[in-house]
Assembly symmetry: C2
Homo-oligomer: 221 residues x 2
């Protein structure tokens, strides 16, 4: 391994740390919602600050590396690192949103069981985990299998919004709480979107094909 | 101007085209809402496709340029181009969301006057325009003045959500329509966020300071 490859490895390790923090932030925010745990909700903001700082570190390190990258493949790998860091930073933002809404919701009696939201969150977190696994294992085929799973989360989100709208119609006094749940559902849907973006970046990195906006779940011809 | 600088110029021109398309997409989506114009709403999807394609072009061209950039400042300028393209692509997505919700809303009697949303949209679009102006004029001081304007849009969004929740409480049958308006309001708030991101990228580009997540409206010490 050259010195340069070692620097890219160190950049990638920072990304993995970021990814695990982002996944933790989402899981904690959801646990704070389900367990009505105020302190846990507040701890998500700390996770998010660390994720923001890691993104800055990745960007800074990446800019230095870019100026020295001898090979096109290395350039691409650094670029993808920057993109993945951007997606993970946004996952941290979504976790913060979920945690804030959990605090609002915990101030009132529970509106409904959160089973469906937990299911969405588990799916989204597993997409994140799988995309980072595909990244470390340099496995674009694995990354491709993640992309269609985004649709499942989209469907769950749509179903959730429909149900919550019905609930608002039946009990308009609960509208603010229902809206908080709709926001959480959309945040989880966005977490899955970011996981999908990361998977697409990995396909681009190892296959050199830009499959964004192309119904990209099909394998390369 | 060296051949390389000319290539960066051409990349920046593509960004400006992207920016003007993104601004148009938002303006059109809002006009489709206000004028209840189905055809105009549908045309936004075409704008968005073009914006997506332009993002791919920018990324592709940027990767080629990165591998040849002789100076750190050039590297930084290419990186910032990639980041700005990413934000503009998301503005296109928000415009598509607004246009879709406009179509849903147009199928029913109007819920309320849209003056506040139009005001948000005008603010967000002017932030976008100003940030691209700061980019072409290489003016980080101008970019810094854009950042605090994001708060105004945030406030308008919060106010809008509050009012619409009240409206749902009074007329729960209109909840789906009100929720569509809440989504549009949030989309406009996100457009302003992207304009702010672009402004922060310009500060980074010309001052070399990463002011993200730092309440970055203060001038450099």
């Amino acid at each position: 391994m050259t010195h340069f490859d070692a620097s890219i490895e160190s950049l990638n390790e920072k990304l993995l740390l970021m990814a695990s923090r982002a996944e933790t932030a989402v899981t904690r925010a959801m646990k704070a919602l389900v367990d009505r745990d105020e302190d846990l909700a507040r701890s998500v903001a700390v996770d998010d600050d660390l994720i923001d700082q890691l993104e800055k570190d990745v960007d800074e390190q990446a800019v230095v590396l870019l100026s020295r990258a001898p090979l096109a493949s290395q350039l691409r790998s650094i670029l993808v690192a920057i993109k993945i860091a951007g997606d993970l930073e946004r996952v941290g933002d979504e976790a913060t949103t979920i945690a804030r809404r959990a605090c609002d919701l915990n101030a009132e009696p529970p509106i409904r069981p959160y089973g469906d939201l937990v299911r969405m969150s588990t799916l989204a977190a597993s997409m994140l985990g799988a995309s980072l696994k595909a990244f470390t294992e340099r496995d674009p085929a694995q990354a491709r299998t993640i992309i269609p799973r985004d649709r499942e989360v989209d469907q769950l989100n749509k179903q959730m919004v429909r149900e919550l709208l019905d609930q608002i119609a039946r009990a308009p006094g609960r509208a603010p709480g229902c809206l908080n749940l709709i926001t959480i559902s959309k945040s989880l849907e966005r977490v899955a979107d970011h996981a999908k973006n990361i998977a697409e970046d990995i396909v681009y990195l190892y296959e050199g094909r830009d499959i964004r906006h192309a119904g990209g779940s099909k394998p390369a011809a």
